[in-house]
Amino acid sequence: MQRRTLLLAVTAPGCVAVGILGIARPSVLNDAAGWMTATAFSSIDWFFMLTTSAMLVLGIYLAASRFGRIRLGPDDEKPEFSTASWLSMLFAAGMGTGIMYWGVAEPVTHFISAPGADPGTAAAARNALVLTAFHWGLHAWAIYSLAALVLAYYRFRKGSSYLPSAPIRMGFEGRWVAPVAFSADAIAVLAVTFGVAGSLAMGIIQVKAGVTHVSGVALDTRLSSAVVLLLLFAAYMTSAATSLDKGIKWLSNINMVLALFLVGFTLLAGPTAYLLRTFVTTVGDYGSGVVDLSLKLYPYEDSRAWLESWTLIYFIWWIAWAPFVGVFIARISKGRTIREFVLGVLLVPTGFSLFWFSVFGGLGLFEELHGVGGIAEVVSADYSQAAFTLFDRLPMTPVLSGIAISLVFIFLVTSADSATFVLGMLTSEGDMDPPRRAKLMWGVTIALLGAALILAKAEPDSETVEAVKSVAVLGAIPFTFILLIQVAAFLRALVRDFPGPKS
């Protein structure tokens, strides 16, 4: 049996089975996914925390060491894109449905319930933004940067494909290599499928919440979820099937402008100086606290449940997206040195995330501490309403809410479209022009999984969100091990290809 056929035979039925189980017996899927993630987190939380922190340390080491001068491509290769374009594309990669969904909700949630400060106090507000920055900052981008760096190095210096198995096949010898390399591709497929389906489900929740908030029409039925999902499905499948690459790029650019407008307008219409102070303070607090947080597992406190449902879920979620985002970042980084690459990928999106959360989260906290409050109550009841409730307190509310809904919708379309491409590529032995039928099949599979997650309840609530999180990270837990083997192969290659003066 051909490798690609075998890969499809292993992964596609697994994904479809999970989707069908989710629709037929949602509680069984939720319980099973919840049990698996909870077992992994409760047993080896130290491993996940250590892995993500080690990625960050390794990235910084590579940038600072002699390896930092190595070019991703032939030594005389010039960067394919200008630095400005490259940074702008990294900046776009840093955006996604998540920042819209959690922009207000996460800091405010930490404000009312998180370890490190008495809830509802000024200290809690400060702590909330540091924790949010920790979840969306350097660690997330260290994972992406290492995943992308490995692929880029093997692609541009050794001429391999973008498959996760390529570094393993080229970096090691032995009988274990073939099965592990095959598993790497299969697990990457599962991680991307579940991760994107999870994001799709969460995005649908927010689109519904936004439409409900703006129109006043309660979209609390399964039918409404199905309609939003079908619209999304039609949009991203049309794009995937007709190769509307230019259209998607155009939409992405529009999204970037809309996001910048949204954050800029909020900054100006809100308490501008306060929000800028919040940003600067958060950068400082995060900078001084990141080492402490990087290795903090609360063994002596009753905060393990919090750690598992926030920090660890985030880190694993980033790993779920790593095979996907990694390919994108690798593709745009040909000709960059490792130093440029690591610093660009670590700092630009992290800076943008911190700014975004400082503005939206900072405004939410401002309302709680100095304004009329009420955001925490909304967040307690429904995360997805948080941003729209905040927009109610700014001028041009309908415009802002409309932009937010559009942003989420377009993010979802572009993400799902890119995911169908990456999945098609992964299951076509790294073919950068995957067959249309492969893309269609993965598009349907993602929609099916999204439906399984979102249709479990007529009105998605916090339990739905937790279930979505559990399923989304299901594929990423094993991919953590694959990522580490890839990184090991990369380090071996670096040491062999560029022996130091002593060697």
């Binding site: 008495d118 380090l491 040491v495």
Partner: protein, 393 residues
């Protein structure tokens, strides 16, 4: 200018939503009544103003000029100060000497809910002049002094008669008249105050003159309650503007179960019940509040207590404070706990709250935990060996 604008607004029949200016003469009783009225009418105390006047004549003159909206004047004086019909009595304070809350006819606040509030207050103040005067000294928010040493100095110099301290910071020469938050805070006073007024409860009630700064609204309310302010008054006076008084629901959770509190709060919020009060008050605090409320549900209040993880009904724990008997505690707790929960939830309301306690970290069986950890450790060692071997090669 502000008074003129305000008077114009009143004349137009649209009383400001931000509060009314109140005049009260130098007479201590009138001043006390004026202060209370100021709080009652204002809704937002900072938005309103209490204007001191030299005497009743001055008060009425200010009222006539429109500089104030309401004045507190003795009824006897009013009869000779203003012709019948010129001023309107909005409410009466039936205390030792009968006082009236007086306003201009054109500026009558009749129908304004704030007047209703003042009427309620007026009837509540029926307890007598001493209570009114004492209450007046504490109603306009406890004086906030952050620094405990400055607080101690204020107490020592006689600037205030009592103060709240963390128990370990109480100055040695002071006496404890009340405890707050299960003993973490104490209300302390000077020996001369104790000698002057041997009624410890009374001193305790009057102790809100100085309080600690507690960040949260709930804590501020606790502090005021501990200082003897009626819980409803405390909630009303300390609630941020525009939000209105929060429903006086008390959620009491033992300190070691603090991590459950957000989950319980969320569950209650989803049922439309807002939570005020500390997040970890001890049983004594909750009992204090109950006692302050007259050991009966205060109008519309919800009292919910969740203690420990055992099956022990909260009512029994409450009764252990010795302030309530078991039957009474049960009656209050269950009557209030079931009041606002959806009908379908009532029989299992407490169990549902108890279920939330199960939101603990997932516990993996020990053998599986060990197995997974050994496997992961072996993987890491293998990985390290791969890298090191490449370096040697």
């Amino acid at each position: 200018v502000r008074a003129a604008l305000f008077a114009a607004a009143l004349a137009a029949g649209c009383a400001s939503q931000r509060g009314a200016n109140v005049a009260a003469g130098e007479d201590p009783i009138a001043a006390a009544a004026g202060e209370l009225l100021h709080i009652e009418l204002a809704g937002n105390p900072e938005g309103a103003r209490r204007v001191d006047c030299g005497d009743a004549v001055d008060c009425v003159a200010k009222l006539r000029r429109g500089a104030v909206d309401v004045a507190v004047v003795e009824r006897d004086e009013l009869e000779w100060l203003a012709p019948a019909g010129e001023l309107v009595i909005a409410a009466e304070l039936p205390i030792e000497r009968s006082f009236a809350l007086v306003s201009r006819p054109g500026a009558s606040l009749g129908g304004d809910p704030r007047v209703a509030a003042s009427r309620r207050f007026a009837s509540r103040a029926r307890g007598g002049l001493a209570d009114l005067a004492r209450a007046a000294s504490i109603a306009p928010r406890p004086q906030i002094i952050d620094d405990p040493e400055a607080r101690a100095a204020a107490l020592a110099t006689g600037a205030v008669d009592a103060a709240v301290f963390e128990s370990w910071r109480r100055p040695a020469e002071t006496s404890v008249v009340a405890t707050v938050r299960g003993g973490r805070f104490v209300v302390a006073t000077r020996p001369d105050v104790m000698a002057r007024d041997r009624d410890r409860d009374a001193v305790g009630r009057a102790s809100g003159a100085v309080s600690v700064r507690l960040e949260k609204l709930g804590d501020r309310i606790w502090a005021a309650i501990a200082a003897g302010v009626d819980p409803v008054d405390a909630a009303r006076a300390l609630a941020p503007p525009d939000r209105g008084p929060p429903p006086p629901l008390v959620l009491a959770v033992a300190p070691r179960h603090r991590d459950w509190t957000p989950a319980i709060e969320r569950a209650l919020a989803q049922r439309g019940i807002q939570v005020v009060g500390g997040d970890e008050p001890a049983a004594g605090d909750a009992a204090l509040m109950l006692r302050a409320a007259g050991a009966a549900p205060i109008d519309g209040a919800e009292l919910v207590a969740v203690f420990e993880g055992r099956e022990l009904p909260p009512a029994e724990l409450w009764s252990k404070t010795g302030l309530l008997d078991l039957a009474e505690a049960r009656r209050i707790l269950f009557a209030s706990a079931h009041a606002r929960l959806p009908a379908g939830d009532r029989p299992s309301a407490w169990r549902r709250l108890s279920d939330l306690k199960s939101a603990r970290p997932h516990q993996t069986p020990r053998w599986l935990d060990t197995l997974i950890n050994v496997a992961v450790a072996a993987f890491l060692i293998w990985l390290l060996a791969l890298i090191v071997r490449a370096r040697r090669a």
